[in-house]
Symmetry: C2
Subunit: 207 residues, 2 copies
């Protein structure tokens, strides 16, 4: 193990490796190689070996990686060898889809509560949850000790809600609102905006 901080771009590839390994495990596979992983992922085998080597020795030259072992190690490195409770804010189409999404299961997360500020939505059911009033977001999230939130409110409300989440002790926000958030140091934000992803591809079209 090195003591140098790992570049965030490397950290960002680990979940992709983990996802591919878990899929291979589902397929009944036992062993893989950096070559095979690379082909699946469109990443060079050398890059994968270099990324993994920053965290330890996970395979032997010539024998490849034990899929289950490497997946466990990556879960451990990514702190998802546990289940994190997540608060969803916004019970519109996207927030509701997230609250019902089965894809979080077995990957380290579960939705614990969902909030909305619309009186027509508060008290209604979304999947297994009764929508809570956003007015109670700070005490509820704080009391539950939740440190991860998914933000699915309109752009115009996103910064205000982000401030409340930070006040409640949230340290990681997955932001679906199409706006950049200002958060204090020690709080992380990741962005999901389909349009920015689409525009990154249209750049290459029609040339």
């Amino acid at each position: 193990m090195t003591t140098k901080p790992i570049p965030d771009i490397v950290v960002g590839r680990l979940p992709i490796y983990l996802r591919a390994l878990q899929r291979m495990a589902q397929e009944g596979r036992r062993v893989t190689s950096s070559q095979e992983l690379g082909e699946r992922l469109g990443i060079s085998a050398a890059q994968i070996r270099k990324d993994l080597s920053q965290f330890g020795e996970f395979g032997k030259q010539g024998t490849g990686y034990n899929i289950e072992f490497l997946a466990q190690q990556l879960q451990n490195i990514l702190n998802v060898d546990r289940v994190w409770d997540v608060a969803v804010v916004g019970a519109g189409d996207i927030g509701s889809a997230l609250a019902r999404y089965q894809g979080l299961n077995n990957r380290g997360f579960r939705v614990a509560m969902i909030f909305d500020s619309d009186p027509k939505k508060v008290g209604t059911k979304v999947g297994a949850f009764v929508v809570k009033d956003s007015a109670k977001l700070v005490p509820e999230v704080s009391k539950a000790g939740i440190v991860i939130a998914m933000l699915a409110v309109p752009a115009s409300a996103a910064q205000t809600v982000a401030d409340q989440l930070v006040e409640a002790g949230v340290k990681a926000i997955l932001n679906y609102a199409p706006i950049s958030l200002n958060v204090p140091q020690g709080v992380r934000v990741q962005y999901i905006d389909p349009v920015t992803h689409l525009q990154r591809m249209t750049y290459y079209l029609d040339r």
Copy 2:
């Protein structure tokens, strides 16, 4: 303008700049600076100037950027000074949310059709659309000349559908299924998987 290809990481930041500029324009603003943009986005002013300088001269030292002009230039560079038709595949929670999403409007995209393979969903309405049968995906997408798709089917079906999209002439796929896709050269894929984003943040928690 340089003739060297622009690094994809730079291309990936342009939609973020464009989004911030469009927001400023909505706020009634006329002029901004790389400093102000940088503070909004958590990106250094020097990085923003360097990124933009790869595409031309958009502002003058000391007077800053004209917001409307720079936004137009970025729309032009990103090929979103037009509206692209998009096909959505999968009429579950996520696909339905995408078909109803108003956030594509004025940003270069509009959903043109939505497909599902479930006979119970085919023919039902999702937002403004009647769900089409995935069995007709290749001829319908091809006939409409659609080159962009959003893929919101289960992971187990995603590669098969991606192959059909490629056959239909699609060149850009925004993939919501939590699996890496194999596509031929000349076809681009961007990934939206909330779990990989969350795991990129949990790495930093509890340390």
